[in-house]
Symmetry: C2
Subunit: 526 residues, 2 copies
């Protein structure tokens, strides 16, 4: 799997479209690292399910009673009007919906749907047993080993992280800005970053729901990059948004506005309440999950009211706070169980699910990796379909780091290898009785034909892990993981080549950006 | 759970025996860290099972055919004689056993058994849904942050690690020497270290199967420390050993000798083949697991021939090598699946199972933690009952590190918290509809009665993780995890108080050690 020659010899699907960067680099023989080829991993494990059937019913009932009795505030008059017409009871901004109506709307949701980016070979399937990973999204700050301190993000840093997003085959979609480029004026920031995303990557693109102009610009730029008509654009998702409710029990105007515009044009819709137990949600996991579901499902009902069959997924971002300080914590045991519980309810509702790769750590050290491991494995255990922030996240999402990105990608590569059925195959050739007989009670298996025929692809091949002994490691400079990751990302960025794009398409994108900038971009008073 | 006052107010079982160190320290108000009290965790998760029923049968059949057709070499004439009398076919050292006989022996094994150390409140149960964790065992070398380099272990370092073993409530049993004290002569090393173990800890003790004298000395010292008669000592396990086969398909003399002596005296028996796929076992996971099972089960048959109903468990230590260098790797995807597959077969055979917490990393950094996380979570997923090396292991077991020990204990604390049913409770109080109604669409949950009544015990309370924001972290010195762990272990060791032991028992132990040293200790020509 890790042999770059394989993509040489076997025409990968994307090669028909000019080849991804890894394939191209391998052909020229200077790939920065060896990695397994692009694929859509399928999670073979039965989910971990802490709740029994009564527990699932109890949380479902809790979510429904919240929707029926407390309601959710929709800070968008049109949304309120749509929901009222759909049969909800409204009282100012507060919308209450009964469970029969909610379940009817949920029955309209597709259990699985695709998003097709400008390179159709990078199409992803959201739902079923698929599990897909995206890069870190939206940190306002950047940190790397040489800088050695946190600083507000720049466009250059954002581009660096987009290159890593494109480079790593274990990353299947882009999230929001991998770091917020605060050196770009907010009125035009979305234009420049989306231009960078669409030219530096050919993977599925996200757009922020931050007002009408931004989301309309994003849809138009994605349409241009894909080279398709409006009709083709709306024939199925070409991009997606992710909105967060303002917990407790509130959806803000800009988020709703983007959500509704994307629903109208048949794009991907992910709603992820950020419910910190003990702060914006009950201190108990069941309570926090029930509230999170109520918030998410209310947005799903809105989307279905706008477009029956709209492509939605619900996310979980339920964690706990440090009760001594109020600081948010991530990758905790409580976070893991909340993620698994949400997975059970997502299956109960027949909806695809989003989870995250997260940590509270401030630097890419041991704590960062046990917290991130906990969160990523809980996403696997929960049967999550999209894993946001899966590479590069630090400090509870306030920092993006390229070293952390590379470290996370090593873990993601292992998780994706873990899902390959070859690992637990039990044909007679796998049981290998002949090889055992051949080696007997002495000697070793290195030299057997059984080993020789398989060694090149038998095991996950790391690109960052150091498996040498301590003496060799010390002789090579005694470099800790984060420092090795620094070398890896710089090499990747130095040799990066953007995926191909037709010159005419690029010119059309550039012209669009120029025109919209000349028009003043988007309002910044949202 | 994390509130030390709780152990103040609620008499913990062990307090009746003079109290563990944590309880005692809490009473005096200077616990180095806050931690959850001692308990035997129960794993509530359904195991992850990559194999279907046919896969289980295929590996079982492979293991049986290895035992029937290839056989296992027993480098111990008495073992061969016992197995011949039990019905095995022998040819020199090679013993072949048919599956009917093997399954008959397995049917005699208890599915679950206890080990009772000198402090009966530290009794552990091996089997069922229990999952227990032990400290790192047997590294020849030591590394800590101040030393900054690898060096051969000493008795002082061994004692440091034993203090951590005793201190952390998430550690349930001691393994072998937490670091090999090479400053002690091999002839008397076992006497000094066992004296240290029995006086610095009151948890279950392991003894190496390294020849008759050592194992007999160990049994006698454990008997003395427990203050029981020979008859009481043999009434059920008071200690255990762990033997490794010499893969492929061989059991060495010293290991077998200790194994047989402990079987005869009804002590705990764990057999763990070290089968590196591609080196000492087939390159395929199914083949490596089948061979590992054949090696382990052959020792189980021997134990049952000596004492029907002997208390046995089988371990897994199947991992892969880096096929470029031959270096062993740990915590890989292949390691995780092999552990899960072995768990399935252990349940098929009705045997308790041992797994490990392992990594290939040379220092306690990011790689160390993702590899260790992978291995510990795979132990949980496999339904393992004993997790060896769960704290302190580096460099594929060649280094013990107190910083890594402390870091691992934070992860173990989280894993054990993860298993508490309170996390997924769904009573009406957990769903918290009243609190949701109270907070409504504004405000927060910090101040609600629902939160106030629960906040002290609602979440895992870390002792090492830093959840402060980057600015606060930087203001506090910008200390990375491994450095924080250094401070924690030094504080624990500085304030360590050994668990109580009757003066008469201690004198008897000292006298035994003195006498055996005067006699020359144990032979060193094994």
């Amino acid at each position: 799997m890790q042999d770059p020659k394989r993509s040489e010899d076997t025409p990968a699907p994307r090669r028909r479209r000019g080849g991804g960067r890894a394939g191209a680099a391998a052909r020229r023989g200077h790939a920065a690292i060896e990695q397994a080829p692009w694929r859509l991993p399928v999670n073979p494990d039965r989910p971990v399910e802490p709740l029994d059937a009564e527990g699932v019913q109890a949380i479902h009932d809790g979510a429904m009673r919240i929707l029926e009795e407390v309601g959710v505030a929709f800070l968008h008059p049109e949304a309120v009007a749509i929901l009222r017409r759909a049969g909800c009871e409204t009282e100012g901004e507060v919308v209450r919906m009964d469970r029969a109506m909610v379940m009817e709307a949920l029955a309209q949701c597709p259990a699985q749907w695709d998003i097709t980016p400008r390179n159709p070979d990078r199409r992803i399937t959201v739902g079923g047993r698929h599990i897909l990973f995206g890069n870190v999204s939206s940190p306002p700050n950047y940190w790397d080993m040489e800088l050695g301190r946190k600083q507000p993000g720049t466009r250059a840093q954002c581009r660096t992280l987009l290159k890593l997003t494109q480079y790593f085959e274990c990353i299947h979609f882009t999230g929001g800005y991998p770091v917020e480029p605060v050196d770009l004026h907010p009125s035009v920031r979305h234009l420049d970053v989306l231009y960078d995303k669409l030219t530096l990557t050919d993977k599925v693109t996200h757009a922020y729901s931050l007002g009408a102009e931004r989301i309309d610009d994003a849809m138009e730029m994605v349409r241009i990059a894909s080279g398709v008509s409006d009709e083709a654009f709306e024939s199925g998702p070409k991009m997606y948004t992710n909105i967060n409710s303002t917990s407790p029990l509130k959806h803000d105007y800009p988020m709703l506005d983007g959500w509704m515009r994307l629903a109208a044009r048949n794009q991907g819709l992910v709603v992820t309440p950020f419910t910190l137990a003990g702060a914006m949600a009950p201190v108990t996991m069941a309570g926090a999950v029930a509230q999170s579901l109520a918030e998410a499902l209310s947005a799903v009902v809105l989307a279905q009211a706008i477009r029956p069959g709209a492509c939605v997924a619900i996310g979980t971002f339920t964690s706990n706070v440090d009760m001594k300080t109020g600081a948010p914590a991530f990758g905790t045991p409580e976070y893991m169980r909340a993620t698994q519980m949400t997975g059970q309810l997502a299956r109960f509702y027949g909806l695809p699910m989003r989870a995250s790769g997260v940590c509270a750590a401030n630097v890419p050290d041991g704590q960062a990796m046990w917290e991130t491991s906990n969160s990523l494995w809980s996403a696997v255990q929960a049967g999550a379909n999209m894993v946001y922030h899966a590479a590069g996240w630090l400090e509870g999402g306030l920092i993006a780091s390229p070293e952390k990105f590379v470290m996370d990608c090593e873990l993601l590569g292992q998780i994706q290898r873990y899902m390959e059925p070859a690992l637990w195959a039990t044909t007679p050739e796998d049981i290998a009785l002949d090889a055992v007989r051949e080696v007997g009670h002495e000697g070793h298996f290195f030299g057997t034909g059984h080993t020789q025929a398989r060694y090149a692809t038998a095991f996950y091949q790391p690109f960052l892990s150091d498996w040498t002994n301590h003496e060799a490691w010390e002789a090579a400079g005694g470099v800790w993981t984060a420092e090795r990751a620094n070398r890896v990302w710089k090499e990747i960025v130095a040799s990066f080549e953007a995926p191909p794009m037709d010159a005419a398409v690029r010119e059309e994108l550039e012209a669009f950006v120029s025109r919209r900038k000349a028009e003043g971009g988007a309002p910044t008073d949202f």
